[in-house]
């Protein structure tokens, strides 16, 4: 029975394991993200955060368990099909195509995604600087501007669920603050957001709920307001 107070989750992972060879990088994880919900995945280096995102997007070698998105099983689908169904990744390190122009990078997001309301104008309204730079090669932009292109590229795919991998990495604090200030606007469009972030404070400040990973398992889950800082730290390092 689905009740009105707990909306049907957009994405559910049940009993998911991810392997590298014989090494179990993710071990029996259960995670859910609802539409218009911001969920944060926190955890130390090597806890399996990026691996988790790769498993969702269909880029991990061996995955077991169930991954359901919008009521359909997506485990085993190609990345292209998953992206078309409405999940888009903002990869760690931005991963733009440096020799392509800003506009071409954005256009690729539009082409791989599903049809929807978000268009170039919306992206340029969010990031006005990109309109000026749209003929510039992406490789020549500053780190912050590159991250804007990566976010814009993902938004143009009109995702229902956005996966953000370490978007603050290597950026000046002020730029990070600006980027995070835009997250509520994205959420307001009903897009679910799964954030992976090293920066604990930043990540918890925007999240509706969070999961803490430790050595491939969920060591703590809840709402940021409901747990103390000390509890989080304890589960973060497994003390």
């Amino acid at each position: 029975m689905i009740t009105a107070t707990t909306p049907k989750p957009l994405l559910t992972l049940s009993g998911v394991c991810v392997f590298y060879g014989n090494f179990r990088a993710i071990d029996q994880i259960d995670i859910a993200v609802g539409a218009g919900e911001i969920v944060s995945i926190i955890g130390a280096n090597g806890a399996g955060k990026t691996t988790l995102l790769k498993a969702i997007i269909g880029q991990a070698d061996r995955v077991e368990g169930r991954i359901c998105f919008a009521g359909a099983e997506i485990l085993g689908s190609t990345t292209a099909a998953i992206v078309r169904s409405g999940i888009m990744l903002v990869p760690e390190g931005r991963r733009l195509f440096p020799s392509l122009t800003v506009e071409e990078n954005l256009q690729l997001g539009w082409e791989v995604g599903r049809r929807g309301q978000i268009g170039f104008d919306d992206v340029f309204r969010l990031f006005p600087v990109l309109r000026e730079q749209r003929r510039q090669r992406a490789g020549w932009l500053s780190g912050g501007q590159q991250q804007m292109v990566a976010l814009g590229r993902a938004l143009l795919a009109n995702p229902r669920l956005l996966l953000c991998d370490e978007i603050s990495l290597g950026l000046a604090p002020q730029v990070v603050a600006e980027l995070y200030a835009l997250i509520p606007a994205i959420k307001a469009r009903g897009i679910g957001i799964l954030i992976v972030e090293q920066d604990l404070e930043r990540s918890l400040s925007v999240a509706d709920r969070f999961y803490c990973l430790l050595e491939g398992r969920v060591s703590l889950a809840g709402r940021p307001a409901e747990v103390t800082h000390e509890t989080v730290i304890r589960h973060y390092f497994g003390l």
Binding site: T79, E104, A154
Partner: protein
């Protein structure tokens, strides 16, 4: 006294057009997929034999025959990449070299088995013998002029395709960072296959002009590969317009070398290539 040299210079420039055609497909596949198809020259010769069959057995006009071959060339290149080369690409460059090397030997000997070692040619009719007089006793072949114009057009069209179309942007994207392309749902395997298909269309076009311009036999492939390779390196890796320049440089070198002493034709081209490699390894017009 000067006239024969000017004549050779002109012939060399025109020959450069044909060489550019050999090179464009190799430049595309090498630039995008970061491997060199060692069977490239043999595929050109294979297409020449296909044209020979179409024009002699079916009596088709060479232009019509070439147009028929092109879609099949695309499908062939697409399939070759999708079902054979994709299995080894990305693992280890060694494997791709060895697979295409094996293909080269199979094609060469398959043609030898099927057609014998005889030298062949496709007849271009009146076009082959028509010349344009430029005064001072200098004549250039009309067909050679057509070939050069077609080569320039081919480079221009490929340039537009690569830099002004959606599929071009995708091809450049996987060329930039194939792993990133996969992460955002651009299927790199499919895009590679399309790029190889386009490369094979240029192989078909090059064969159309080569089969009328020169004699060929089953063992002609390696020479074409070496020419295409030298043109690509001379022009600067991945630079299409550079290929045109590289083709012309190589054409002139061979033509002038041949005027001095006919046995020096091939050697002069190779030596120019090695000299440029020694002093300017990035090529004449590097892309970056």
């Amino acid at each position: 006294m000067l006239v024969p040299w000017i004549n050779q210079l002109l012939q060399g420039i025109l020959l450069g057009g044909l060489y550019t055609m050999f090179a464009t497909g190799l430049s595309l596949s090498a630039g995008v997929m970061r491997f060199v198809n060692i069977a490239h020259g043999d595929f050109i010769v294979l297409a020449c034999f296909a044209l020979l069959v179409l024009t002699t057995a079916l009596g088709l006009n060479p232009v019509v025959a070439t147009l028929i071959v092109l879609p099949f060339a695309f499908l062939f290149g697409f399939g070759l990449q999708r079902f054979l080369l994709q299995r080894v690409v990305g693992q280890n460059v060694l494997l791709v070299i060895l697979v295409t090397f094996g293909l080269s030997i199979i094609i060469e000997n398959g043609l030898l088995e099927g057609f014998g070692a005889d030298t062949r040619k496709v007849s271009g009719g009146w076009l082959e013998t028509a010349t344009v007089a430029l005064g001072q006793g200098i004549n250039v072949g009309l067909f050679q002029v057509f070939t050069f114009i077609a080569a320039v057009a081919l480079v221009a069209v490929l340039d537009l395709l690569l830099y002004r179309t959606g599929i071009g942007a995708k091809i450049r994207a996987v060329s930039d960072d194939v792993a990133a392309a996969d992460l955002i749902g651009l299927s790199s395997g499919r895009i590679y296959a399309v790029a190889m298909g386009i490369s094979f269309v240029t192989v078909g076009i090059a064969a159309g002009f080569m089969s009328i311009w020169t004699n060929f036999d089953p063992a002609s492939g390696p020479t074409r590969l070496l020419i295409a390779f030298e043109v690509v390196v001379l022009g600067g890796l991945g630079s299409l317009w550079g290929s045109l320049a590289g083709g012309i440089v190589l054409g002139i070198a061979q033509s002038i070398g041949g005027q001095w002493d006919i046995t020096w034709q091939m050697l002069a081209g190779h030596i120019i290539f090695l000299l440029v490699l020694a002093v300017r390894p990035q090529g004449l017009f590097p892309r970056y």
